[in-house]
């Protein structure tokens, strides 16, 4: 039974976490811990995949005598949970494999090894939980384990602040989810998901639950403007943990949203889709614009996660809109697109974070302005990183394109929607999605170009060495899956059919039946795409062109100094930097969004001082929301501080007054 396999794997992970406290400093602690994590994620992932592809009949609910005595611990494996288990364990597999090799550079392994398997176990338990208590407990466990991993290098500049902001936002998110679960359980207190699912909820409760879940799961997933902790915390952790947090934990948050809003809440009103679409569209565009402003490679990747989460939420918002209007096929299309992007993003974002970790190991630098030319020093890493860049930029024939293409096809189904608000909003969100996709291309040309191409900008980049084979193997697995999912998307779409069937009550047309493995969202006359044939055609044409030219034209090659219009300057500082590369885009978009300003200090003629260009930009989320809020909290705390210095007489009268007030409230309550 797959659920028991998954549970035993979780138990093994927890036991390893406890054991790792003792053996964390030993030299064989690292291979042992990561080896157990690797095996457990492989077994659990395989079990979940078997459940997804060939669902067995019978009851898959397990009730363990743990947790609340009158409730027990409900655990259930259905199609949705199985899909997310596959995603979690794929990421966990790659991160564990990478950890075996990369972990030897870890300065403080005893701060990482106990929490790594605990983090994996927490994410698995969130997905398997089938009652509110277990769900929230696992959610908090996952948050705390990842917080401990963020604080692994707590002496580095900025990391303690990152951990603090993360802790505050995670507590806020759990609080919102706690309230949502309380509302769903109702006065009767049916905390098992099965009880919540049955209960009909009135419109006010449904709205409140939706908003609370959007705040709770959205803050964990990194929706703008709840994203502020993410670009601080994700890069602070060791690289394979960053891969897990960005690639997998944000997906667990998406799971929480889908589970509560689609599954437990049942239907929701049509305008709730507008809220989700607005959050999704804003996150998609702002996330990538933030990413374009960054020069820290890992922080850039973290911001790009916000963009991709936005794309997922656009798909989910479309699915909500179609579902509330009983447009089953379109809802299935949008929902499948969102889930496919969940899988794709888990693959390529993990790959990119592992690649960034390899660069960090090889050069010690996260700032791209100090890198450059790594394609010659680290050929394998750069090729694998390039695969990730192409995939995340939504370019055919890799996997990122497929899910964005499906989302566009879902947008094209929306003129049938009856509500005016949605009909005006959906094309605007489609434009935002297109803008985000194009900007992502620019962002990753910049990221790859400045890091891996050009001439080295520092000695560290000049003397970089390729990383170890185990780390490379982890990245190769992910890159191969990116290519495979791009060439054969029909397989993934068909595997998602039972999930869509269970959650939105409809499925996309079976893709296995269409000729040549083409994917067809609605009908062949309305649009189709075949990644495999596109790949074959492009590769074939390129090969034919190259062979023909080498055979009939010239094949002579001569190496010479770069041309550069006749005036090559030997200093690598004359290259375009990351800052100068994004300058046109900064001028077009960021002057408005981030109030970016450039200041040029030009010394007077004859002076020997250097000319300086300073770029300043403000973060609207901090300026508009968090800094004023933090100021309010501080002011309120200062006011309340006076209560600490009262006389005993005043304390007693205060107690008496509040007692009278409470009694009055009870007496007057209807």
């Amino acid at each position: 039974m797959p659920i028991l396999v998954a549970l035993w794997c979780t138990a093994a992970l927890l036991a390893t976490a406890v054991a790792a406290v003792a053996i964390g400093r030993h030299p064989w602690g690292r291979p042992l811990v990561y080896g157990v994590s690797l095996t457990a994620s492989m077994v659990a992932g395989a079990a979940a995949l078997v459940h997804l592809v060939a669902p067995p009949g019978g009851d898959l609910t397990v009730i363990l005598p743990l947790g609340l005595p009158w409730l027990g611990m409900h655990l259930r494996l259905d199609a949705l949970a199985a899909f997310f288990l596959v995603v979690v364990n794929l990421g966990a597999f790659a991160a564990s494999l990478y950890g075996i090799g990369h972990g030897r550079h870890e300065p403080a392994p005893q701060r990482v090894l106990p929490f790594f398997p605990a983090f994996l176990a927490g994410m698995t338990m969130v997905v398997l939980a089938a009652d509110a208590f277990t769900f929230l407990l696992s959610w908090e466990f996952m948050s705390l384990a990842s917080w401990a991993l963020v604080m692994a290098h707590h002496r580095d500049a900025g990391n303690s602040r990152a951990g603090y902001v993360y802790l505050v936002m995670a507590s806020f998110g759990t609080l919102a989810l706690l309230l949502a679960c309380g509302l769903l359980a109702g006065p009767a207190g049916g905390y098992a998901f099965a009880d919540m699912r049955g209960g009909g909820h009135d419109a006010t409760t449904a709205t409140l639950v939706l908003v609370l879940v959007l705040l709770g799961a959205g803050s964990k997933a990194g929706l703008v403007p709840l994203h502020v902790w993410l670009p601080l915390a994700h890069p602070a952790a060791p690289s394979h943990v960053s891969a897990l947090m960005s690639g997998v934990m944000t997906k667990v948050a998406v799971y929480g949203f889908v589970r509560i809003v689609f599954d437990l809440l049942g239907g929701s009103p049509w305008w709730s889709a507008m809220i989700v679409l607005a959050f999704g569209g804003a996150s998609a565009v702002l996330g990538v614009l933030y990413a374009l402003m960054q020069t820290d490679l890992k922080r850039l990747l973290a911001y790009s996660t916000i963009e991709n989460v936005g794309i997922v939420f656009i798909g989910l918002g479309l699915a909500l809109a179609f579902q509330s209007n009983a447009m089953g096929t379109a809802a299935a299309l949008a929902f499948t697109a969102a889930l496919l992007h969940v899988l794709n993003h888990a693959l390529f974002k993990s790959l990119l974070f592992l690649g960034a970790g390899a660069v960090l190991t090889a050069t010690g630098a996260r700032d791209v302005e100090r890198l450059g030319g790594l394609i010659r020093r680290m050929p394998v890493t750069s090729a694998l990183f390039l695969v990730g860049c192409v995939a995340i930029s939504a370019l055919p024939p890799l996997n990122g394109f497929v899910s964005e293409w499906l989302t566009f096809q879902a947008v094209l189904q929306s003129p049938e929607l009856p509500q005016w608000g949605l009909r005006i909003m959906v094309p605007a969100v489609g434009a935002l999605l297109a803008l985000a996709a194009a900007l992502a291309g620019a962002c990753f040309v910049r990221a790859f170009g400045v890091t891996f191409l050009g001439r080295p900008r520092s000695t560290a980049a000049e003397t970089a060495r390729e990383v170890d084979r185990v780390s490379l193997a982890a990245m190769t697995v992910l890159a191969a899956l990116c290519v495979l999912a791009g060439l054969l998307p029909g397989v993934a779409i068909d595997a998602l059919a039972p999930v869509a069937e269970a959650i939105v009550g409809a499925r996309m047309p079976a893709q296995g039946a269409s000729a040549w493995l083409t994917i067809v969202p609605i009908a062949e006359s309305r649009g189709s795409y075949n990644g495999l044939l596109v790949m074959v055609f492009v590769a074939g044409s390129a090969a034919v062109a190259a062979l023909a030219i080498h055979r009939f034209g010239s094949r002579a090659t001569r190496r010479a100094p770069a041309w550069d219009c006749g005036f090559p300057v030997p200093s690598p500082a004359t290259q375009y930097t990351a800052g100068s590369f994004s300058q046109p885009i900064r001028r077009v978009f960021a002057t408005l969004v981030f109030r970016a300003r450039e200041r040029v200090e030009m010394p007077p003629p004859g002076a020997t001082a250097p000319a300086r260009l300073t770029v300043e930009w403000r973060d609207p989320a901090w300026d508009g929301l968090y800094t004023p809020f933090a100021g309010l909290v501080t002011a309120a705390a200062e006011r309340l501080n006076r209560l600490q210095y009262l006389t005993i007489r005043r304390y007693l009268s205060l107690v008496f007054a509040s007692l009278v007030g409470l009694l009055l409230a009870v007496a007057l309550w209807p």
Partner: protein, 317 residues
């Protein structure tokens, strides 16, 4: 089956062979409009042949990416062009990629070309790449909005279906299609680096975009890049013709020998008209500053969005 494969092969060969001719034709017309004699219309073929015979001078630190990019770029552009209906719709592989995928294929080509511009590590390559992606970051969403408009009118993103539906009598004149046409022409000008966005004839100017990006290329690599640029121009002219002037295209299932000949002639005439209009436009207008280009493309994006919104709203009227 064999015949269908032959037709598809003919289409691929046609776009490859005609592309330099269109570029040469535009250059000749421009020269005549300026009262110059100009080179022969066949000059692009001679240039390509000359470049193919020459050796490649590679910068010392050029990587494998720099050497493979020209072939990838030409292949992606060629495949994209072969999927646009020229003289017939419903070709055997036309369902491989719809219009969104064709645009994404061109985006792939640009992605690699921009990377190649940064590979050698010169300031010219960087400036070209940086400006190219800035232009693309506005041109691509505008193009997607145009696709939305077309797809909503035709009920499909499949170009063959779009061309067939728009050739039919039931579409008629629509405001959205007019907006889409204007936006598409603007995007096509920007994507092909024509005046007023970029100048394909310029050299050694700080204002240039595409030419700066490919400055380090020589020999057969340069030939591939020039060929890809020519194919891209042909692609956009074919796209505008197939969508907005779909007359004479042989429908799926084919016709007699007369129909094929007529459609080929019609296609040649459309290319000639498109090339002439482009040359006329380029002669009449001055190049704009780089930072005016976002306004230009922003207008295209807004027109496309407006066309789409009109269609969304008019569904219920």
């Amino acid at each position: 089956m064999i015949l269908e494969l032959l037709v598809q092969g003919a289409q691929m060969a046609l776009v490859l062979l005609l592309a330099p001719l269109l570029t040469g034709f535009v250059r000749t017309v421009k020269a005549r409009l300026l009262r110059r004699r100009g080179p022969s219309i066949l000059q692009p073929y001679r240039d390509l042949a000359r470049l193919l015979r020459k050796e490649v001078v590679l910068a010392e630190n050029a990587s494998w990416l720099f050497r493979t990019t020209p072939y990838l770029v030409v292949a992606a552009t060629w495949v994209a062009a072969a999927l646009v209906p020229t003289f017939a719709t419903g070709l055997i592989f036309s369902w491989t990629a719809d219009l969104i995928a064709i645009i994404a294929l061109l985006a792939s080509a640009r992605f690699f070309l921009a990377l190649a511009g940064m590979d050698v590590g010169t300031s010219f390559g960087g400036i070209g790449s940086s400006r190219e992606v800035m232009i693309a970051s506005l041109a691509e969403p505008a193009m997607i909005m145009i696709v939305f408009t077309l797809a909503l009118v035709a009920g499909s993103t499949q170009l063959s279906t779009v061309a067939t539906v728009l050739a039919g009598p039931e579409v008629g004149l629509r405001v959205s299609l007019g907006l889409a046409l204007v936006a598409l022409v603007m995007v096509a000008i920007a994507e092909n680096g024509r005046i007023p966005v970029d100048n394909p004839a310029t050299h050694l100017e700080l204002t240039m975009v595409h030419e700066a990006m490919v400055l380090e290329y020589s020999g057969r690599h340069l030939a591939m890049i020039e060929l890809a640029a020519a194919i891209k121009l042909l692609l956009y002219v074919s796209l505008i013709a197939a969508v907005f002037a779909p007359w004479g295209i042989v429908p799926a299932g084919g016709g007699g020998a007369g129909a094929w000949a007529a459609s080929l002639l019609a296609y040649a005439a459309k290319l000639a008209v498109g090339g002439f209009l482009l040359a006329l436009f380029e002669t009449a207008i001055a190049k704009m500053r780089v930072f005016r280009v976002p306004d230009f493309l922003g207008a295209a994006l807004m027109l496309g969005l407006l066309g789409t919104l009109l269609l969304f709203v008019s569904r219920s009227l």
